[in-house]
């Protein structure tokens, strides 16, 4: 049982993971192809704990740039193929360090805009897989780069709305099962483009607050699944965006996240007493941020970046 956030331990956990030179650990090797996502999770957690200064900005930024492909997109690691998943993380990392100015914005935004399909949907890369996650990524990324006008926003929004199900939720494509992760992506995209009025907030809010497990306080992603810390982000941020967060029991959720910490070595796992990883560490801290936990900086629920970073971008030319 934990009663506080052991921020210092989490800081050490993240710095150790990022500093691993030999890449010997199992976590490091399996994460190798999505290192860009891992870096975003680690660095954003540091930023939320106000410890971004603990890493070498130059080292991180220059590594990020080695992952850019000639198409303008970014890969998960140096020498790998580009994909929108890693392109968003790369842009978000540069935003954290206030280094968006080093980007060739035209090149990156053309890469993303080029992946929009006739029906308004987005593919993840040249191989064509379509998913509403990629719609969110395109809209979020282009919004940060202030290039939303490069895509057909109306068609993009209409496509997302076509993925709305009878239960008020959203899936990865029209007719696909509602899933909290996909719901976050669709609601986030609609929020960024000013289209939240197309969400049935009461219906979706009900579906989302039903994700809370009465006993543990944790949230799951779909009916009958086990609670998982990462849904503290996807369900919670969605509820905040549609203004229904008061429908869940916040204190119980805080307790579930805190109980999922490794109090000795740092890091957060998917639920109490399981193995930690960087993914759940980020979502746990981000969830606590949304729950206004003291000592954690405020995160924007749509952009998934600290509010002070988003303000810096949106309110300067």
């Amino acid at each position: 049982m934990a009663d506080k956030l052991v921020a210092g331990k989490h800081l050490r956990y993240i710095l150790n993971l990022m500093a691993e030179k030999k890449k010997e650990s199992f976590e490091s090797v399996v994460m190798d192809h999505l290192r860009m996502n891992g870096a975003y999770w680690g660095l954003t957690t540091l930023a939320l704990l106000d410890k971004l200064g603990s890493v070498s900005e130059d080292e991180v930024v220059s590594w990020v740039m080695t992952c850019q492909h000639e198409s303008g997109g970014f890969a998960g690691n140096t020498g790998h193929d580009p994909h929108v998943l890693y392109t968003l993380s790369a842009v978000q990392i540069l935003a954290l360090f206030d280094k968006l100015n080093i980007l060739d914005v035209e090149k990156v935004s053309n890469y993303i805009a080029g992946l929009q399909n006739e029906d308004g949907s987005f593919s993840g890369d040249i191989w064509g897989e379509v998913d509403t996650r990629f719609s969110y990524i395109a809209i979020c990324c282009l919004s940060i780069l202030k290039c939303l006008d490069k895509i057909n926003v109306k068609k993009a929004v209409d496509y997302i709305v076509s993925c709305k199900n009878l239960d008020g939720g959203f899936g990865c494509s029209p007719g696909a099962e509602s899933h909290a992760g996909q719901i976050f992506c669709c609601v986030g995209a609609l929020a960024i483009t000013g289209n939240l009025h197309r969400v049935d907030k009461d219906l979706l809010g009900w579906w989302l607050c039903e994700r809370q497990d009465y006993e543990s306080g944790g949230l799951n992603g779909r009916p009958e699944k086990l609670p998982d810390v990462c849904y503290s982000w996807w369900v919670l941020s969605s509820l905040i965006m549609i203004d229904r967060v008061h429908w869940i029991e916040k204190a119980k959720l805080v307790k579930f996240i805190l109980d999922s910490q490794d109090m000795d070595n740092g890091g957060i796992s998917d639920r109490p007493s399981y193995t930690v990883d960087i993914f759940h560490t980020y979502f746990g801290v981000a969830g606590l941020s949304l729950l206004e936990y003291p000592g954690v900086k405020t995160i924007d629920p749509a952009y998934a970046l600290p509010v002070h970073v988003i303000n810096r971008i949106l309110f300067t030319k």
């Binding site: 192809h33 191989w127 099962e177 009958e224």
Partner: protein, 306 residues
């Protein structure tokens, strides 16, 4: 003659052993990562005693019987690193020399063996068995396959991805690759219906071991758009028993919804008759009656109510 420990022969020996095991048993249908302490137990179950095992070192790293392959967790990290490294080198080689191969084929000059291409296929297979979401490896295979025009290349790809799913049933990249293969097959060959039926059966068997697997069930829903109405009705009937035994599986019931909606959609197509409408109404009523039965039998199941 004898080379030092830094020679290429000693490096990547693990990978060579792994690829040798794969080549010597092309019918492997299941892969898993196992703790070395379980090797003895597996030998016993397979009816072997230790004395008869060849002592070449391979038996402590790889277990291969009855077309099942176990990889020792002790060597996983090193093997994965080696496989990635060798694959990326092969890919680089292919991209810089691959053009030469293409030109030879266009001019009808035999380009044998097309070593860079077969290296990429061999090493990408190895790396994907260990790290199924390594997109760059899947992409390399797509690049090579998109230049092929024989069905066997694509059905072989379905076999490999099925093998990978036996260990990583939630691997999104693997499911996505299967959809790409099916799209390619549908564009060039006419054996689609049989493939759709097999795909659906594959998902059901994976769904048995990996409950409420979103990726697997999404794949099954995706197949519905390629199904004829007869197949849809068959699917509805075939999967009913499974659904009745898995009433907490929201993905399964979502799939039934998808099938039901497809039946409705078909009525809006020109040429649908009054008979079709009656049939559809009958199917819907049966489904709703059955649902009501289940709700009464399994009180409190969120999935059934939704």
């Amino acid at each position: 003659m004898k080379q030092g420990p830094s020679s290429e022969d000693d490096c990547f020996s693990l990978l060579k052993q792994f690829e040798h095991v794969l080549e010597s048993d092309p019918l492997i249908d299941e892969v898993g990562f196992i703790h070395p302490s379980q090797f003895t137990m597996l030998d016993k179950e397979a009816g072997f005693s230790n004395e008869f095992q060849p002592n070449n070192g391979t038996s402590s790293k790889f277990w291969n019987q009855d077309h099942k392959l176990g990889i020792s967790t002790d060597i996983l990290v090193q093997l994965c690193k080696d496989a990635k490294h060798v694959f990326l080198l092969a890919l680089q080689e292919y991209k810089s020399h691959g053009n030469a191969c293409d030109e030879s084929q266009i001019k009808n000059i035999s380009c044998s063996p097309c070593i860079p291409e077969s290296d990429v296929m061999k090493h990408s297979q190895s790396v994907l068995l260990l790290s199924s979401d390594f997109g760059t490896a899947w992409n390399a295979r797509k690049l090579i396959l998109s230049k092929k025009d024989h069905l066997s290349a694509f059905t072989e790809e379905l076999r490999l991805s099925g093998l990978i799913l036996s260990n990583s049933p939630k691997s999104e990249s693997t499911w996505s690759h299967r959809r790409w293969i099916i799209k390619m097959i549908s564009q060039s060959f006419s054996t689609l219906q049989e493939i759709i039926t097999k795909e659906s059966e594959l998902v059901e068997s994976i769904g048995e071991r990996s409950k409420m697997n979103y990726r697997a069930w999404y794949h099954r829903c995706w197949l519905v758009s390629y199904m004829t109405i007869e197949q849809v009705i068959q699917e509805l009937n075939k999967s009913k028993r499974w659904a009745g035994l898995h009433v907490a599986d929201s993905s399964c019931f979502h799939y039934r919804r998808r099938l039901m909606l497809k039946i409705l959609e078909s009525l809006y197509v020109k040429g649908s008759s009054a008979y079709d409408k009656t049939e559809a109404r009958k199917i819907w009523k049966e489904e709703l009656d059955w649902n009501e039965e289940l709700v009464e039998r399994y009180v409190g199941r969120e999935v059934l109510k939704v």
